[in-house]
Symmetry: C2
């Protein structure tokens, strides 16, 4: 009999309603999330009007999403949930590069490019040369690792945000490391930027006295057979907002200096004009423990 339920009995009835035949992890997730949501409602003694407002807000978040906008990831980001998940899933390998949030702009496939190619397809911005090496935690090079990179332009916009201005794939590229685990590409120094704040998440930030800015960064996903996939950023040292990222994603180990290079020959040798900035990003991948165990 599931009538006349209130308080803890009601919560128990909802938890029991997920049949024992449910896929066990799904059942666990639903039971834990439902328990916590009920606890929050009870603690707050939420009113009907407040519940209505919350459901309207969540509806608006869903409806703001389209092929180039993911407002629910933004919401998860500004509530620190995305970063919490990243930190919980950090590799146990203390030498491995730390992870950070995926963000909402990894929604199109990056073009495959050759080592040394430019990912910036338009003029403008401060030239940058980004080089690095992918290794295991014993400093052995990982050849043929896949490095997916994406970044905004000098005004803080990703290609998908400016389809009339930027060609698709601007600021993006997929590279494979060479036999020494090395990779290199040309780009520009990315700008700090506000997360898209013309939607419900922007209203939330506004109502709570929060700025919408993220410090300048380049996104990376690194993958190689037998290693744990890594989603991370490199943050531009000394960028505005490096101390107050609105999505709580900065980790000290991921801050990288962009050294100015003024030598014209050196610039010419990498296909850039001087001055340019050189950033070095070394990525250490942890062994895939699940794969190793299997």
């Amino acid at each position: 009999m599931t009538s006349d339920l209130s308080g803890d009995d009601l919560t128990a009835a909802v938890l029991d309603s997920f049949a024992p035949s449910t896929e066990p992890r799904l059942r666990e997730i639903l039971q834990v999330v439902t328990s916590h949501l009920h606890a929050a409602v009870k603690e707050l003694r939420l009113t009907q009007k407040e519940l209505d407002a919350a459901l309207q807000f969540l509806t608006a978040v869903g409806q703001k999403c389209d092929e180039t906008r993911q407002e629910f990831i933004l919401l998860s980001d500004v509530l620190g949930i995305s970063m919490l998940v990243e930190t919980l899933n950090d590799s146990d390998d203390a030498h491995a590069t730390e992870a950070t949030v995926l963000g909402p702009f990894h929604m199109t496939e990056s073009p495959r490019r050759a080592l040394g190619d430019a990912i910036n397809l338009l003029p403008g911005g401060e030239p940058a040369y980004i080089t690095g090496r992918v290794t295991d935690s014993d400093d052995n090079p990982i050849a043929n690792a896949v490095i997916d990179v994406w970044q905004c332009n000098e005004e803080g916009f990703y290609d998908v945000q400016q389809p009339d201005v930027q060609p698709a794939g601007n600021g993006r590229g997929i590279f494979r490391t060479d036999a020494d685990g090395q990779f290199r590409f040309r780009s520009i120094v990315p700008s700090h930027y506000p997360i898209p704040n013309d939607g419900p998440v922007g209203v939330l930030l506004d109502l709570t006295g929060r700025h919408p800015y993220r410090p300048a960064h380049v996104h990376f996903i690194a993958q190689a057979d037998g290693y744990r996939e890594l989603t991370t950023h490199m943050f531009v040292a000394d960028s505005p907002y490096i101390d107050s990222d609105t999505v709580f994603a900065v980790r000290e180990s991921l801050i990288v200096p962009f050294h100015p290079v003024t030598d014209a020959d050196q610039a010419a040798s990498v296909g850039l004009s001087s001055p340019y900035h050189h950033a070095i990003v070394n990525i250490v991948l942890a062994t895939d423990e699940e794969e190793a165990a299997a």
Copy 2:
């Protein structure tokens, strides 16, 4: 410095990010909900793939909503959150009629109708006559109370679900009680029905071995100056699913028998043919404590 945060420090930084200048209740709600969401994520050690799947699910819930479909209310309903909020906000007045969920179909304005009018505008269904009285908790009649009713048809569909079949306002009406606090209208016996299950909430029910059915009921909102607004149902006694409402909304005190009436003269006197069913719904409103306190 809000970099290099993890675990409890990260949660604390997010809670602190909502500025002290935020409207106090909004800040309280955001802090309590964020705390519980972080606790759930930690307890589950949620993976990135699971978070992605959760955000995709919530996006799909939002995108399923339109002018006639409110999938987020359905989600709140099937997780027992809507009913929990109702029970937390029950009047302290033990004599008052108990509340239950609003549901997702109170989205159009009901037409104003005269006492005795029919709310069913199409042929079909088993005729019903619903009468009642609105009183305070000392049994004094409340004249001029507004009673907003809505129900599904004999096939379990609300007007907004079948715009090509049912005229707008079918199964709906707003009535005012007479000097004796009485109201009456003609209708049909509503059917039990599945909540709309062709969207993401339907997938959730399916994956967790839950049926989508609600027992037959008529929705009521009763309002009168100086009294607490009441959102409730009357459930049809002996309806299928009366013991397993998928939104946990049944309360024993709200179950009403639909007595068969076979007398032709009696039927004619209320504008119905015999046999019909007669249901009596007495509604007791609590004094509006906030208004009384003011």
